[in-house]
């Protein structure tokens, strides 16, 4: 998130245009729509449009929002067959990839030898290949990692000629089905190749807002036509990074580089649901990924700290970096906020952070230090807003 958690930013901190920023394929459309552009992960990106973060957030939960996530990395892995590729990728990612059904998608992460998280990603079985989507800030490192570690028989093809759009919200199905009714038959985490605006798009029924919706990989040449066709529907507003951040935060979803990084393990981060039994101790393909010793041990014995939801009791947001304490006075910090801000749908401040395992139960009373004052905050269950997926 570009502007959260910077503490006191001053009223008029305007982003200076940096000449080496990469430009999104839909840059012109964003500007036409009144976007305020900011640098994010090396790209010049829309942080908000005319409606503003609050309205964009609420509109996405009420109807549908269109997000340009073309900065993310799209990569195709090929080998002799899907299983070969999947098994190779399983040496880098502690997820059951070989067991993914055709045209099904799964969440996962690259781990390092210490059990930390190098990046999180989406993995899809496309029959003859594995399609993955990785974070923009990590994509160069991820691609180098895959090229260095995957066997010679597996090729890593970076897709540079496709944009990635996300259509999210309860109206997403109706809107997208207006362009091709086939998308209505997809359920959560299904993937399909579907023709939109006369061109084959790679669509998944997923997203990162906690809402039902789709992610659409579309050739750059047709991306603007598709975006305009979606925006032509009254249910759809363009949504910037600001609301994307507050939506995913309310959805309890991790932002790489903030809530997860090489200093956090999947068990600490509460992502154990993504590590299927078959990859755990005793599973048919248990272990065999970087950091397996630590991660498998934490799966059995628990981790020393945990990512938790946090609900400040007052109105002051607790942003990234706010130190957490067990007591109202004295003592040393027991943890810190890793993402935080105002939750427009919750209508209150919400945050996530790490605390010792014995202070991680929902309802635990903690204090967060904001501008030198300790303010009460309670550990809360995640997500803050129930997920609204089409299972």
């Amino acid at each position: 998130m570009p502007e959260g958690g910077n503490g006191s930013a001053g009223l008029m901190k305007t982003g200076d245009a940096m000449s080496d920023l990469k430009i999104l394929p839909l840059d012109g459309l964003h500007r036409e729509l009144g976007a305020k552009m900011v640098p994010f992960a090396g790209y010049d990106m829309p942080v908000q449009y005319a409606a503003g973060v609050m309205k964009e957030h609420l509109h996405t939960r009420a109807a549908a929002g269109l997000f340009d996530v073309s900065h993310m990395g799209q990569v195709i892995l090929r080998g002799a067959d899907f299983e070969t590729v999947a098994l190779a990728m399983e040496t880098l990612v502690p997820v059951n990839i070989a067991g993914l059904g055709e045209n099904r998608q799964r969440y996962g992460f690259f781990t390092d030898d210490q059990g930390g998280i190098l990046d999180d990603l989406m993995l899809a079985n496309r029959g003859d290949h594995l399609f993955v989507v990785v974070n923009a800030a990590c994509k160069d490192a991820d691609i180098a990692h895959m090229r260095a570690k995957l066997p010679a028989g597996v090729t890593v093809e970076v897709i540079e000629d496709r944009a990635l759009l996300a259509l999210q919200g309860p109206a997403a199905e109706t809107v997208l089905a207006g362009l091709n009714p086939a998308v209505a038959d997809m359920t959560f985490m299904d993937v399909a190749t579907v023709s939109l605006c006369g061109v084959d798009c790679w669509i998944s029924r997923s997203g990162y807002t906690g809402e039902d919706g789709y992610e659409i990989s579309v050739p750059v040449a047709q991306a603007e036509e598709l975006a305009r066709a979606l925006l032509a529907d009254d249910a759809v507003l363009p949504i910037g990074l600001g609301a994307r951040d507050s939506l995913r935060l309310e959805g309890g979803l991790c932002l790489y580089g903030h809530d997860i990084d090489t200093g956090t393990t999947p068990v600490q981060a509460g992502l154990t649901w993504a590590i299927q039994k078959i990859r755990r101790t005793g599973g048919a393909r248990g272990g065999g990924f970087p950091g397996a010793d630590r991660i498998l041990s934490e799966l059995e014995n628990g981790a020393s700290r945990a990512r938790v939801g946090l609900r400040p009791e007052g109105r002051a947001p607790m942003r990234e970096g706010v130190a957490l304490f067990a007591d109202a006075e004295g003592g040393t910090a027991i943890g810190a906020v890793t993402s935080g801000g105002f939750g427009p749908s919750v209508e209150a401040p919400v945050a996530m952070g790490y605390v010792p395992a014995d202070l991680a139960a929902p309802g635990t009373q903690l204090w967060g230090e904001v501008r030198g004052k300790r303010l009460p905050v309670q550990v809360a269950a995640l997500p803050f807003v129930p997920a609204n997926f089409k299972r």
Binding site: G7, L11, V47, G242, R315, P317
Partner: protein, 119 residues
């Protein structure tokens, strides 16, 4: 009305100065979700951080534009921070200050100069 480079407006009401933030500042901040105001009776010096304003995007400080005493604060914007976006020049004033010499306001910009600043 006078304006500071920190995008505050100052308006004289009798012998006190009313302070708020400009429409430009309110638009730049985005949706305001939290306001913290000083206590009435506080003596402040120019540049002291006296109030906090948080939008969905970030936190910002409001500094005292002059030396003086805080004589009133607008609790309505603490209860409804969104007022700062709706009516920054009117209902959503922040605080009132008593200062020694009202001529100190002469150092600040008039509306034309401020409009030049924000372009």
């Amino acid at each position: 009305m006078k304006y500071t480079e920190e995008h505050e407006w100052l308006r004289v009401e009798g012998d006190v100065v009313v302070v708020g933030i400009t429409e430009h500042a309110s638009a730049q901040l985005g949706d305001v979700v939290f306001v913290e105001l000083p206590e009435v009776g506080t003596m402040v010096a120019t540049g002291d951080e006296v109030a906090v304003i948080e939008s969905v995007k970030a936190a910002s400080d409001i500094c005292a534009p002059l030396d003086g005493e805080i004589v009133a604060v607008n609790d309505a914007i603490v209860d409804e921070p969104g007022k700062v976006n709706e009516d920054p020049l009117g209902e959503a004033w922040f605080f009132k200050m008593k200062i020694d010499d009202l001529s100190a306001l002469d150092q600040f910009m008039d509306e034309d100069a401020y409009n030049d600043l924000i372009g």
